[in-house]
Each structure stands twice: as C-alpha cells, then as structure tokens.
Amino acid sequence: MLTVAELKKGEKAIILDFPVDTIPLKLIEMGCLPGNEVMLVQTTLFNGPLFLMINGSNIAIRKDTAKEILIEKIV
C-alpha cells in the first residue's frame, strides 16, 4: 500500500484509510478524511515536514504522520 510519504512533488492521490489511534485528531478535523484528495506541494531539506494540499487547504505534517495515511494515486 502506498502512503502520503511516498508521493512525489506535484502528485495527487485519494486518501483511503489510516489507523485511527495514531493519526492526530487535528488532521481529521482539518479535513484529512478517506475519500478526499491529497497533493504533495512542497518538501523541505533533511526530510522535514511535507506541505500538502488536502481538500483545498494547505496543511503541513511531519513525515512520520504522512507514513500513516494510506492512499491510492490518481493517474
């Protein structure tokens, strides 16, 4: 299964699922929900946070959180 951490800059995907216990509640509150579209906008040096566009909002999360979000790429 692919995760958000494996997206490349500019790639889009659909969120499939994530483990409910470890994903920050705040991320869900911001609209990171199964079925929504996610796009990787920007990365930082030294494997820092990822800059994502989820459901029209720009949200930055750390890589370890990104690894928890399962996706399916849009081709």
Binding site: L25, K26, T44, G48, G56, A60
Partner: protein
C-alpha cells in the same frame, strides 16, 4: 429589548478573519485580560449594536474543533460548556471563510450541539466571485438550522446585518443541526466521556464523531455550495513555490530577519534617545520644582528613573512586533514554521518555537506567551525555558557600555569593527545557548508528551492595517504593564536600600568629603569629571550662540566658565558624597557581602551591587553604576561617556589594579548574556507553567551557566 449587555462569543477556525471582525465590532473598546484560573488571554470588547443596545464581545482563540488539543483551544470549550462561567455567552457567532466552508463548519456543528442560540457568519464574501463560488443561503440555512449572515470584513459589508441579528438573538434557533441520535457517544453533549473513557477509546470516539459530522456537512454543502475550481488563482501556489523552496525559502527567511533587525535598530534609535532625554529632563524638573526631601528623591531617582527604564524599550519592542504582526497577518510566518520544523526538532523544539524565539529578541515576556499554540507540552516547556537566552532589548544598554569600555574600536576587514563584531557575537552566543540548552533539556526531561505537527498554511494576503496596529498595541501594552509593575517596585526597593545608612559614615558623608577636598584638593578622577562638565558647558554655549546667529569670543566663553566653575566643583563634590553614602548604605553592604562570591569572576563590590540590583531587570545595571560611580546628576547623552571615564579609572582598593579590564569586561558580558536577570519573565513563566518549579529551575540553571561562563572567561583571560 432589555438594556442589559448581550454576551456574544466569537468562535471559528484560525485565519477566518475572526479577529478582524472583532476589531470592526469593538474598535478601540477592547480589553485583554486573563481567564480566571487559566493562563490564556481573553480579549473582550464592547460593541454598540444600536442606540440603546450594547454587547460584550468575547474573542475566543481560533480553534478547528471543540476537541481541545492546545491550551488556546481548551479555553473555547471551557467557556462554552460551562453555563456558570461568567463569560458563558447568550449567543455564539461562528465565523467561517467562504473558501474553506466545509472545514470551518465542523466547529459550527459542535457549537450547535450545545443548544445555545447560534449565528453563522460567512466571511470573505468579496472573494466569492473571483473564486467562482455560488451559495444558496436559504437552502443552507434550512439544512443547518441556523441564521446565516454573509459579510466581508475587508470591505466592511454585512456588519450592520450581523448587529441586527445579534440584537434579536432570542429568535435564533437553539436546535441541533445533526439529529441527536446520529452520533452515539457525542463528546460535546456528554463531556463526562472525556474523563470516563481511556485516552485511546476517547480518540476513537472523537475520530468517529468527526467523520459523522463531515458526512453531514458534505451532504448539506452538496445542495447549496458550488465552486468552480478553474477560477481559483494560482498566484498563491506561485508564491509558495518561492517562499517554501528548499533552498531559496531559507535564504529569503535569513535575509528578511537580517533586514528586520537592521531596520529596528535604525528606526528605534531616534525615539529611544528622545525618551531617554525626556525622562532625564522630567527627573531634573521634578528635583528643581518640588521641595527638597525624601519624597522628591524617591520620585525623581526611584520612580521616574524606573519608569524611564521601561518606556525606553517601547520603540524597539513595538517595531519588532510590527514586523512579526505583518509576517503573521500575511501568512508568511506559517511557512517559516514549516521550513524550520525539522531543524528545530533536532533541539527538542517545534517549528512553532520560531516565533517565540524571534520575539524574544524584543522581550521574553510576550515571547513566552506566544508559545501557547504549541500542542506538545514538552516542546512548549522547552521553548519557554530557553527563550530568555535570546538577546532581548534590555541587554543592549549593558552590552553597549561594556563593549565601549573593553573592546577596541579598531576596524577590521575595512567595514567591520571589533565592537560591532562583539555585539553580533553576543547575539549569536545567546541563540546558540538557547539551542544547546534546548538539546540538553530534550535529552534529559522525562515528559511523556506526544509530539505531532499539523499546521495550516493560510492563504497569503495583504495585512490589514487595523489588525496589525491592534496586535502591536496589545503586545506592547502587555510588556509595559507586566514588566513595568516589577521594575517600578524594584526601583523603589533599591532606592530605599540605597537611602538607608548602616553606619555613621553614611550620615556624615557630607562632612567627610568636604573636609577631604578642602585638605587635599581634587584627585585625578574628580578633575576629569570637572573637566567634562566644563567641556560640555562650552559646547552648549557655542551651540546657543550659533542657533541665535551670533558669534561668541573666547574671552566671553572663559568668563562664563569662570563664573560657573564653583557650581561645577560643587556638583563634583555632591556626586562624591552620594557615592560615599551608597558605599555605606544597606545596598552597599549587600554588595560587599557578596564580594567573595564574585571575586573569582573579576568583579568588586560595586559591580556586586549592580548585579544584585539588576537581578530584577538587567537594564537597572547602568542606572546603578551611574549612581555608584557618582555621576547621577548628569542625565543626558554624555552620561555614558562619563560613566565610561569613571569605570575606566576604577581600581581595586586592595591591589590598585584596574577593575574593568578585557578579562573582567568579557566575564561581565557573558554573565549578562546568560543570567536570568528578569523578574517579570520569571513571573510570566510561573503563570504559564502553573507553579514555581520551572521558573526556579530556569533561575538557578541560567545563573549557574552565567557564573561558570564568567568564571572561565575571567580566569583564562586575566
């Protein structure tokens, strides 16, 4: 309609223009206070709704939901959930951004569950057309069971409609929008679940709850909200490609920071000199106008001087907060948080620690308050503990005089000089020590705290002048009042300690000095001081003449000087008397008592007094030295030069060696770079950490670091 105030609470996600709306509604009629028992600021203001009806508007911190994850969010829930809370509102106004309606409605559905009269405000209506958004308001009102007001806080439209709706709040629906049975285990209507469920269970319940709410919102918006994505501008994306670029992003941030600090120092020097002069003249004027005596002295030397010590930093602090507010308002600061997170995390901090650390360069007090949006308690605590290492504006006067004293002003590499390089180095040392101690705390503190990082990057926008102005005023006020109270109290205590004698030398200082001068004449230092007064007088005569367009002859100058000389001689003697008094005052005794402890650092009892007195606030150091080195009567720009001359010629009584050498100067500079010499900061840390433990750790830790650094520097360099 009743005459009683209607209590209105503004709720909404961050960046929805909630604070803009608050500023429009209340104007300058606002107050920042503290919630009882909780360390989060509450902003309230009075709004005139109609000729007869007023409302208290409460601006709650921005929140994505009513499931608290940071200190800022917890307050919103506590206020809304508790009907006995004095701020419990009559009507809740949920502010949303038309472009982010889906996400913004989450908190709305939660507020509706509380069954209080609720209004939905849809802001940024001015953007609807350009973004291709169309809204069916009546349909949405029916689906959400609410009244909707469409406003634009930028164009100030819709505000009057909102006021009218607030006036008739009793007619608003208090029914939920999601039917009660849909969400089992609703944590909003059953707050007892928050404590009865285990953390993991609670999280699962809240996750499910959030998803159900989103399902409801999606269904409602499907009917009434249309957005034409092709019309969305890509300017935002272009800006982000530059500002968050892997390399250019950091370069831009670095250049911006340099530029800001440079500009702050340039712009604030003029108002700072003016304030310094004004307080000097006010003290002189008080002394001349009021009858001589204890009270006048307390007023002039204690209170006015103490107040001057606070007010002088207002320009620097205001300018720094002006730039920070512009960066925040424009949306840039969130990009900095994004860029810096990984780097900061190596030191146990969060990307969100960047704002407090930058603010710390003006003053640690508002900076520490700015840590409240850091969710992880461990990261927040570390940020609070290390922020006082950042060189704040109160350290500058201390640095300035010590650098002028012990660092040569020779130029190196054409444009730099050693003094400038030293100042720069002190800033870097402060920052490096902040990072180093953060790293150590990160490795040693055993605090279980989930570290996660979810930051919204708001859209870039041109900052609204009104919002920036309010932020600057508010933060500057916080500094003045928080720091002011303590500095003022300390000035008074110091003054009292300095005016109480411990032996007869204190009472007879007058006679002792007069006798010594009439017997032996002026010594070298006294001659220098006299000479300085004459030079200054000469300059002022020449200035006066040139201003009046006249010429003045050497003879006229000389006779004027001859006439004034006895007055100057007396002033020098008076200074000497107050110095002797101070030595034999309670304060002087304290200084002598701690001398053994600070001798290894190269300091004598006089510096000891200055250290003790500036324990409360660093900027007191110069004032104390001015008194100790008996230059208290000269209150203008020349003061620094005179103190400098005095300090230069100061020798140890026992050995006859100079007190201020390169070694002792560097030792003092390092001491001031690291020591926690600020009571106001301790008070704020106590408030933010709810106890004395952390401020005490900070106080003893920082003082120990300062002592060791001073000791090593002196012993190596002497």
């Amino acid at each position: 309609m009743s005459d009683a105030m209607i209590k209105v609470a503004l709720i909404g996600n961050p960046n929805t223009g909630k604070t803009s709306l608050f500023n429009h509604l209340t104007g300058l009629n606002q107050k920042v206070g503290n919630y009882p028992g909780i360390t989060v600021d509450k902003k309230t203001g009075i709004c005139k709704l109609s000729k007869t009806q007023k409302a208290t508007i409460l601006d709650l911190p921005g929140t994505y939901s009513l499931n608290a994850s940071s200190a800022d969010e917890k307050i919103t829930i506590d206020t809304l959930n508790d009907a006995t809370n004095e701020f419990s509102p009559d009507v809740a106004v949920v502010v949303t951004d038309v472009e982010q309606l889906k996400r913004n409605l989450l908190v709305f559905t939660q507020v509706k569950d509380l069954e209080i009269p609720t209004l939905l405000v849809i802001n940024m209506a001015d953007r609807m057309q350009s973004r291709g958004i169309s809204l069916n308001i009546p349909q949405l009102e029916a689906d959400l069971n609410t009244k909707i007001i469409v406003i634009s806080s930028k164009l100030q439209t819709g505000i009057d409609d909102l006021k009218e709706a607030i006036i008739s709040y009793t007619s608003l629906s208090t029914e939920r929008c999601i039917s009660a049975g849909k969400i089992e285990n609703n944590t909003i209507t059953h707050p007892e679940l928050l404590t009865s469920l285990s953390a993991i269970e609670l999280k699962k319940v809240q996750h499910r709850e959030t998803i159900i709410r989103y399902q409801f919102i999606n269904a409602a918006l499907k009917k009434s909200y249309k957005i034409d994505r092709s019309k969305a501008s890509d300017l935002q994306a272009k800006l982000d490609r530059i500002f968050t670029h892997k390399i250019f992003g950091y370069v831009i941030f670095g250049v911006l920071l340099l530029l800001i600090f440079q500009v702050i120092f340039e712009w604030s020097s003029v108002p700072m000199e003016f304030i310094d002069g004004a307080f000097g003249s006010l003290a002189d004027w008080t002394k001349e106008t009021l009858p001589e005596g204890m009270f006048t002295n307390l007023l002039a030397e204690g209170i006015i001087a103490g107040l001057g010590g606070i007010v002088i930093f207002i320009p620097q602090i205001a300018f720094l907060f002006l730039f920070i507010a512009i960066l925040e308002e424009s949306g840039y600061m969130s990009r900095v948080v994004f860029l810096m997170d990984k780097i900061m995390r190596r030191f146990g901090l969060s990307g969100k620690s960047v704002v407090p650390l930058i603010s710390g360069a003006a003053c640690a007090i508002p900076a520490i308050m700015a840590t409240r949006n850091i969710e992880s308690w461990k990261e927040r605590l570390i940020t609070i503990l290390v922020t006082p290492f950042i060189t704040c504006s109160a350290r500058l006067p201390v640095y300035a005089i010590l650098i002028a004293l012990v660092i040569p002003s020779e130029r190196v590499f054409w444009i730099f000089n050693w003094q400038g390089i030293t100042l720069m180095a002190l800033y870097i040392i402060g920052f490096a020590m902040a990072l180093l101690s953060a790293y150590i705390l990160h490795k040693t503190l055993k605090i279980e705290s989930k570290s996660y990082f979810v930051v919204e990057m708001p859209k870039y926008k041109v900052p609204l002048f009104k919002n920036v102005a309010f932020t600057v005023i508010e933060k500057t006020k916080t500094f003045v009042f928080e720091a002011g109270k303590i500095i003022l109290a300390i000035s008074i205590i110091l003054w009292v300690l300095a005016s109480v004698g411990v032996n007869e030398k204190f009472d007879n200082a007058d006679a002792i000095i007069t006798e010594s001068v009439s017997k032996n004449g002026f010594n070298e230092i006294q001659e220098v001081s006299l000479n300085n007064k004459v030079i200054r007088f000469k300059q002022s005569l020449a200035d006066e003449a040139s201003e009046a367009g006249k010429t003045i002859t050497a003879q006229e100058i000389n006779s004027a000087i001859a006439e004034k000389t006895p007055e100057f001689r007396q002033a020098v003697i008076d200074d000497e008397i107050s110095a002797l008094r101070l030595e034999n005052s309670a304060l002087g005794t304290i200084g002598k008592a701690i001398e053994p402890a600070i001798k290894p650092l190269g300091y004598d009892w006089k510096i000891g007094i200055a250290l003790v007195s500036s324990f409360a606030a660093r900027e007191v150091f110069i004032g104390t030295l001015a008194t100790i080195y008996s230059v208290g009567s000269e209150g203008d720009d020349e003061e620094a030069n005179t103190i400098k001359a005095k300090m230069e010629s100061e020798v140890h009584a026992s050995s006859g060696k100079k007190v201020f050498t390169f070694a002792s100067g560097i030792s003092l500079l390092l001491f001031y770079a690291f020591a926690m010499q600020c009571m106001s900061t301790l008070a704020i840390v106590k408030r933010e950490t709810n106890g004395w433990k952390w401020p005490m750790v900070q106080l003893f830790g920082m003082t120990a670091i300062a002592y060791v650094a001073g000791l090593i520097a002196y012993q190596l360099l002497k």
